[in-house]
Amino acid sequence: MMDAGRHPNIKLMTYCDVQEMSGYVGRFKVKVLQRPRYVDIDLCTGCGACVEACVFKRGVPNEFDAGLSRRRGVYIPMNGQGVPMKAVIDEDACLLLDKGKCVKKCMEVCPTNAINFDQKPETVELEVGTIVVATGFNVFDAARLSAFGYGKSPNILDGIQFERMSSATGPTQGQILTAEGKKPERVAIIHCVGSRDKNANAYCSRVCCMYAMKHAHLVRDKTGAEVFEFYMDIRAFGKGYEEFYERVQEEGVYFVRGRGAEVTVQDGGQLQVKAEDTTLGIPVQINVDMVVLATAMEAQPDAGKVASTFGLSRSADGFFQEAHPKLRPFHTNTEGVFLAGTCQSPKDVPDTVAHASAAAAEALTLLSRGEVIISPTTALVDDQLCSGCMTCIALCPYTAISFTIKGVSGTALVNEALCKGCGTCVAACPAGAITARHFSDKQIWAEIEGLFRAPSAEPVKETL
């Protein structure tokens, strides 16, 4: 991200929404809404003086720390490590913008006078050749499965919260502590929260087994606490992953084969995990100080909107659909639009890097070639037969058909660069003047006739 931000040929636009996309491969027009950050990005040096000065000391939950810490109305994203490293004012948290009343300490202290409360949303129009969609994933909200008790105790954490807690830049500077500020003595980690569960998502999120084992390793390493992993199957699928699984076992983590069934908060705040140990065939209950839920990866909540903006389709699980599951895993059915990373399916870091690199390479290949190969399946008007009724013109979804006057009458004309070959005009032409190349009436009629000559529909044994 830092490299992308510094690269002379990359223009990074943050805090933006893509509103519209039109055009076609090589010449997309994209309308981008630049939301106001109320800080002049060219003047801001990222010194953080405004953050210190902000009078809204209580602040709002910090999304970067998954709600474990709080941030003020003005902040530098990602706890000061964001790219670009510039301040931004949150409209909903800033006292001036939200409540209309503030002493504006931030403006006073800013050494470069970068703060500007008069910024308005701006629409920018871009012309681009190719597009890579890399909108990422959403962490499953564990509160949707009430049995795991998420939200009932501050010591029940989801995957991201634990990740932040164990990070050196996190709210506890990397110490693993319960809400009471003590080192936990027993920790339970529950796999498949929101994955492989018909009540949430039927698919496997792929990454959770490995990150849950990493969490177990961190707990063992940092606190020496006893760790219980409740799992259905361990899917250590990647290079070196099985070895890591063995290492974590050797470190003394207890693996309990059985989906965690219920997490309850006892009197006095202690947590109890109930599950069935399917290798022993007995129900178990274990009292612990902290529960970490290995939460699933889900499609972004606005994936539907993004899909319709870029002409993508989505698979049944909500992620964007690739053009072919094996051979075109990062292409889409819209020429010139590619997918990168977890917006297409759950992926771990190496898979995401591979997927995204492939998408970037393909996007660049198209650009450097300078010309695109279009499909030959376009419509063709026979102007000898065209009566100029203009029925087709209104039907074309790409406005690829124009009307040319020749003498007293006119005929329709298809622009082959715009035509995508859907054939709607062909089916509608009352004069039969339009041919869909490779899907002509003649060809389809011959196909139908052929189906009745071939020895298909032979009597077969009843199998169903």
């Binding site: 319709s308 399946t377 790409y398 189906l451 009745f452 529909a457 009597p459």
Partner: protein
């Protein structure tokens, strides 16, 4: 050919992007489905001239399936499925006027992600047409001419 072993011949006109993909996925996924449906691929369900369906019945099809992308937003060509949506109800009426039972003609939507739905449709529709028996329209015409 007894009623028990009658194997209907069904023609499916499928759009390339949704239902054809679903049918392909159903095959790749080894989903169980009877072999009675022969598929004619078109780029968009909006390409399906109602004459294709009539032609299929005239050639001797016992049933016809027309399937494309879910309206409103799934169509690869923005709104080709809406044209299908306009044409097929009219065609359905026309077929009944020709004396073809409406159970022999199915039109609808199956997205590329709905392979199990396609396999289910093939199973159900084959049973449905098999129960109706053959569409003996060629033989009937021949007997009348005699």
């Amino acid at each position: 050919m007894t009623e028990q072993t009658f194997q209907p011949h069904i023609i499916g006109f499928l759009c390339n992007w949704c239902t054809y993909t679903a049918a392909d996925t159903a095959g790749v996924g080894r989903m169980e489905q009877p072999p009675n449906v022969d598929v004619v691929r078109v780029m968009c369900s909006g390409r399906i001239d109602p004459a294709f369906v009539l032609k299929a019945f005239a050639e001797g099809a016992d049933g016809v399936i027309v399937s494309g992308c879910h309206p409103p937003g799934d169509c690869h060509y923005n709104n080709g499925n809406f044209k299908t949506f306009r044409r097929m109800p009219l065609l359905e009426m026309l077929l009944q006027q020709y004396g073809i039972e409406k159970e022999r003609f199915h039109w609808g939507w199956i997205s590329g992600a709905e392979a199990p739905k396609w396999a289910q449709l093939v199973r159900d529709f084959t049973t449905q047409v098999r129960d109706l028996g053959p569409l003996d329209w060629k033989q009937e015409l021949a007997s009348k001419e005699e």
